[in-house]
């Protein structure tokens, strides 16, 4: 018997906007002018949030924070396609997703200032608390998708993680289960090329991350993660597919972490200035701006308004957060179990 090819795969890559904001019209998703403007405003708002968070941290007014600089298109582009009734399982670097979904911004500051109450997701959203351990949220998303499928709810589940997360066992176990049960889940990896100091090629010998999906029996696609239209289109299609019983999709957003890993890191110790400079030309916000300018959607005046509005919103959120009273020490006992234990009741007498 001769050897035969019994299975083969092609890995797609989706780009719509080039660095100068020219769009491939055959691929451009149908978004109204006002939706495109809304996306631009969310990109700007998220960057403003990020900038403020870094300053607050430097001033000692906030704790360690993981910047989203450079990854705004991956986050806003994907989240813009998500419905409020969908479920989201984020990692710790998804502030743009929270903001796009309409999560109260002052609560994000509250969380990063070390107050659990900031992660009490409002009732009209289903965003799980951000996962600090890398990759452990993948099984949760799979479980929620199983539950949604069992209840015949028309919702999709979205799970975010980084390139480092793809090395974890939970990534494998979760992807495998999602494939076996054909679950309504969209996995979004923000491949920002770094996991703290470990570059993407040291994370896996695979040429792409997207190709990993095929081993689990579903489709993976790489998209230009700095192209908000490409990310939106890929996510929208994957979500529609999930809602219609088509099973999971893996989207690798090829992007770059422009800042340090967190405020506790100094990236200049492990990567070159040249590398960072080269990615500056691919800035996701600049690119959408050029696209909008070409299409008569952007003016200096508009830019000023958007920036001002973002700054005001963030200033207000910071003020609101800083006016919140510290939690009472008793508060740390209150949510261990639904009711207090005999021992906790005695321990609480310390306060």
């Amino acid at each position: 018997m001769p050897e035969r090819i019994i299975e083969s795969f092609n890995i797609k890559r989706l780009d719509i906007l080039d660095d100068n904001g020219n769009a491939d019209e055959s691929l451009t998703p149908s978004l109204s002018d006002s939706e495109i403007k809304r996306i631009y405003e969310l990109l700007t708002l998220s960057r403003t949030f990020d900038h403020h968070a870094l300053s607050l941290q430097r001033e000692g007014r906030m704790g360690t924070y993981a910047s989203i600089l450079g990854q705004e298109a991956s986050q806003i582009g994907s989240a813009f396609a998500i419905k409020k009734s969908d479920w989201i399982f984020p990692s710790f670097r998804e502030m743009g997703v929270y903001i796009t979904m309409g999560y109260p911004v002052h609560m994000l500051f509250q969380y990063w200032s070390g107050d659990e109450r900031g992660m009490k997701c409002p009732d009209d959203l289903n965003i799980f608390p951000l996962a600090v351990p890398v990759g452990t949220q993948v099984p949760h998303a799979v479980g929620a998708a199983m539950a949604a499928k069992y209840k015949k709810d028309k919702v999709a589940v979205v799970c975010y993680f980084g390139d480092g997360g793809t090395s974890k066992g939970d990534f494998h176990e979760g992807f495998n289960m999602a494939g076996v049960f054909k679950l309504p889940v969209v996995f979004i990896c923000q491949n920002n090329q770094w996991a703290i100091s470990v570059p993407r090629e040291k994370q896996t010998a695979s040429k792409t991350l997207a190709q990993k999906a095929f081993a689990y029996g579903f489709e993976g696609i790489q998209v230009d993660g700095n192209d908000v239209l490409a990310v939106y289109k890929a996510t929208k299609e994957a979500l529609d597919k999930a809602r219609n019983g088509g099973g999971p999709t893996f989207i690798e957003c090829f992007t770059y972490r422009m800042g340090d890993h967190t405020t506790a890191d100094d990236a200049s110790r492990y990567r070159s200035k040249e590398e960072v400079e080269a990615w500056k030309a691919k800035d996701p916000i600049l690119r959408l701006k050029l696209f909008m300018e070409r299409n008569g959607l952007w003016t200096e005046q508009y830019q000023k308004e958007v920036e001002e509005k973002s700054r005001d919103m963030i200033d207000e959120a910071v003020k609101k957060e800083e006016a919140i009273e510290r939690p009472h020490p008793e508060d740390m006992f209150a949510y261990t179990y639904e009711s207090l234990t005999q021992r906790q009741i005695r321990e609480m007498r310390d306060f």
Binding site: K120, C121, M177, T336
Partner: protein, 324 residues
Amino acid sequence: MPQNSKKLNMVQAINLALKEEMQRDSSVVILGEDVGRYGGVFRITEGLLELFGEERVIDTPLAESVIVGAAIGMAAYGLKPVAEIQFMGFIYPAIDQIFSHASRIRNRTRGRFTCPMVVRTPYGAGIKAPDLHSESTEALFCHMPGVKVVVPSSPYNAKGLLISSIRDPDPVIFLESTRLYRLIKEDVPEGEYTVPLGRARIVQEGKDVTVIAWGSMLHRVLQAVEEFNAEVIDLMTLNPLDEETIFKSVKKTGRVVIVHEAPKTCGFGAELSATIAEDAMLYLKAPIIRVTGYDVVMPLPKLEDYYIPTVERIKKGIEEVMRY
């Protein structure tokens, strides 16, 4: 007392609890390895696939972390998953999920998301099984606030405790002694009854010594105390601990023997001894004695009978405190 009673062993009692809860509440689902078509390696879930279908009795891939991790996602979504880990020795990959997430979802979201799930797993030695099929590492899970740890010692309590665990709003680790599975039969009522979590039970009253045990050890304790005037406490729930019942008994008897199958160092007996020493020291007439497994790697079957506390060793422990 509800309707009919039947003589059932623990396997049948647990199966009945699962069946009745699944009939009562369509949000209860089972997931794990071989739980569906095969009915579980100990036949705990036998017949449930036929009754409830594969959407509710889910044969999963062989992957402990995602079994528990998916259960967390299901629970947050509004289901009441009962996950089975085939043996306690294989739960360790899922500890990350239990410790890092199940235990703290309620806290971290101020109650917006909760984790009403049960992780059932067979534990303990005495069935001549291969490596890692005889573990009793219950103390690990008691060190994690946000998780409850329940260990039934008889068919009646197994059913009532499992029903309470499934209905509990927080994650429960439910440990089933493999040695007890088919060892004893007792009257188990059909239909609804519960045994509350967080409450110990006085199995027999006595004046001279309090003997504390749970799960697999209880039966050896009951044999060992025959010649003594001993009060026997079956903890049933290790965490949260029913301190009240323990203090009351210790204050009465003034002597304590704690019996468990796990190794002595950092076993749950250490927590019990310290708790009693802190709060009831002045009532004690004798040192607190622990009769436990040894500080060794759990031996394979040829030596396991030397490892598990015997009736003789428990008697010796009681005699020791009775010297005072």
